[in-house]
């Protein structure tokens, strides 16, 4: 179970196949994400990136293969038993998926109040929600409705909801899709901040190579409260792996140097070489 790096595997796919109405979405996909690792998943639209995240969350059941999260095989668990595993995973959905009938405060408090395995004291919920919203710099939006926020603010509120329970595994589905470059950078900065402060394992689906580049080469300086380049690519014990999906198949897996050196035409479409 423990990979060669010595760290325990948080997430493990073993020959996973997923299809919808006979159309394959993931084909024979295997991967292993260890504790503290970041994985950047690139691929064209419809290549299976979102399905991969939903399968890791137990929202989609594979046709074959095994999905192990924190050592538990999700394919053998009933829906009710999956809730305990899901309480240790935070997920940012593509369109934020904030509940539009709830205020921002109620949205962020939702996992604290509804995940029974967490048993968070009710009297501390408000304070924890404020902390989570302060973390994403949305402190003044408690009473607002999701429809009153801009796209970037909704995405930040959804990040607050994903991290409010301090889950050790975080899944981000296209967090910068449809956002302007400045807002997109703010979102990625928050993801890096969350990863480095709480040492979370992170899976990030994106179309933008810049997002992966920031994840791989920057770290959060908690003293100054800013992102800074990781010296000589050193982010301590954490590492970033890039994955490229094509029509449900994993066609590349490796670090950024290998990705940029790849001669595969499909892989190269997603790569924008760094400035030396």
């Amino acid at each position: 179970m423990t990979p060669p790096s010595g760290k325990p595997a948080i997430l493990r796919f073993e020959n996973v196949c997923v299809s919808f109405d006979g159309v394959p979405a993931l084909t024979d996909l295997s991967l292993e994400a260890v504790e503290g690792e970041s994985r950047v998943i690139l691929g064209a639209a419809g290549s299976g990136k979102t399905v991969l995240l939903k399968t890791a969350m137990g929202l989609v059941r594979p046709d074959s293969g095994r999905v192990l999260v924190f050592g538990k095989d999700l394919t053998t668990l009933r829906e009710r038993d999956l809730f305990e595993v899901r309480s240790r995973i935070g997920m940012l959905f593509q369109e934020s998926a904030l509940f539009d009938s709830l205020t921002i405060e109620e949205n962020v408090a939702y996992p604290l109040l509804n995940q029974r395995s967490i048993r968070f004291p009710k009297q501390q919920v408000h304070q924890r929600v404020e902390e989570a919203l302060d973390f994403v710099e949305l402190g003044g939006t408690l009473e607002k409705w999701p429809s009153e926020l801009s796209g970037g603010m909704r995405r930040r509120a959804a990040i607050a909801r994903a991290v409010v329970t301090n889950p050790p595994l975080l899944l981000y589905d296209s967090p910068t899709a449809g956002l302007d470059p400045i807002t997109a950078q703010t979102i990625i900065a928050l993801i890096v901040k969350e990863r480095d402060l709480n040492k979370t394992t992170t899976l990030l689906v994106t179309h933008r190579y810049q997002d992966g580049n920031l994840i791989a080469n920057f770290r959060y300086n908690s003293k100054q409260g800013v992102l800074e380049p990781a010296r000589n690519g050193d982010r301590g014990a954490a590492r970033t792996i890039f994955m490229v999906l094509r029509e449900g198949r994993l066609v590349f897996e490796g670090d950024q140097n290998r990705l940029e050196a790849s001669s595969d035409q499909y892989v190269r479409k997603f790569v924008k070489p760094r400035e030396k």
């Binding site: 899901r86 959905f93 593509q94 369109e95 539009d100 509804n114 995940q115």
Partner: protein, 274 residues
């Protein structure tokens, strides 16, 4: 399903294409009853979302009150006007109250109330849940530790099952009252005679029929709305499609169930199926 399809194909020499066409509807019916089973099972399992039940009761029950009162009033008034003309030909105009009461309590009250509530709520539920589905809010709910059937479907099933019989009783009363308004103010019939003939006409099985049907209709309205809502695919277009389908299917099923309930009550009261 695959085995059954093969058996049927070999037995009757049917084309596999035809069986493929049948698979979809059969699977949909199976999914519907699975959803119904889970929703009913959740009534007895924690957690119970009482706030959601109260909210839905308010929306489905109190919210539907104006249209139910209007429908009940005018259907009762029309019944009184038309029936009084027909009965006058036989010199039985004094029986208008009886005819209005029986027609409303047995059929028109439950059916029209259910159709109004289906138009308003089956479509409303389908569009609300459909929007949640296409914006991944249903997935988010599952990801955040909540069973969507328990949180969304069961409260709507309970709320509709409680409120529709109450709305039906209100519609029945308002309809009979409207009949009295017509008889007293327009036809100048005796008020006491109207109410006595209406009251005496009703038997226990009329009341039972008038209350069993709304309960069955409530299950149809809430579950069809939830079923089509949770199956929504294809963005806003899909939401529109789910909304229309929910309303049409719920309305048709209301008429189908009305027929079978009437058959059962005719059988129970006369001893044979007509």
């Amino acid at each position: 399903m695959g085995l059954l399809a093969t058996m049927v194909a070999s037995e009757f020499g049917a084309q596999p294409l035809l069986l493929d066409l049948l698979k979809g509807p059969v699977l949909a019916v199976q999914d519907f009853f699975l959803l119904l089973g889970r929703a009913v099972r959740n009534i007895f399992r924690a957690p119970h979302y009482n706030d959601d039940i109260a909210l839905q009761m308010d929306y489905i029950g109190v919210g539907s009150l104006p249209i139910v009162i209007m429908t009940g009033f005018f259907s009762g008034a029309v019944m009184a006007l038309q029936m009084s003309r027909a009965l006058a030909q036989y010199g039985q105009i004094s029986k208008t109250g009886m005819v209005v009461a029986i027609t409303l309590v047995r059929e028109l009250g439950p059916d029209l109330t259910a159709l109004m509530v289906a138009g308003r709520n089956a479509s409303g539920i389908a569009s609300e849940l459909g929007s949640m589905k296409v914006t991944e809010q249903i997935d988010a709910m599952r990801a955040l530790g909540t069973d969507p059937i328990q949180k969304l479907v069961t409260p709507r099933l309970i709320a509709t099952s409680v409120m529709l019989p109450i709305l039906t009783v209100i519609a029945d009363f308002v309809g009979i009252f409207a009949g009295w308004v017509i008889c007293y103010f327009i036809l100048h019939l005796d008020s006491r005679q109207y109410w006595e003939s209406a009251w005496r006409a009703l038997e226990w099985n009329d009341v039972a029929q008038g209350l069993v049907k709304p309960f069955l209709f409530a299950v149809i309205i809430s579950m069809i709305g939830c079923f089509f809502g949770l199956r929504t695919e294809g963005g806003t277009q899909g939401v529109g499609r789910a909304t229309t389908q929910a309303m049409v299917v719920a309305s048709v099923l209301i008429f189908v169930v009305t027929y079978f309930v009437a058959q059962v009550f005719v059988y129970l009261t006369s001893g044979e199926i007509q």
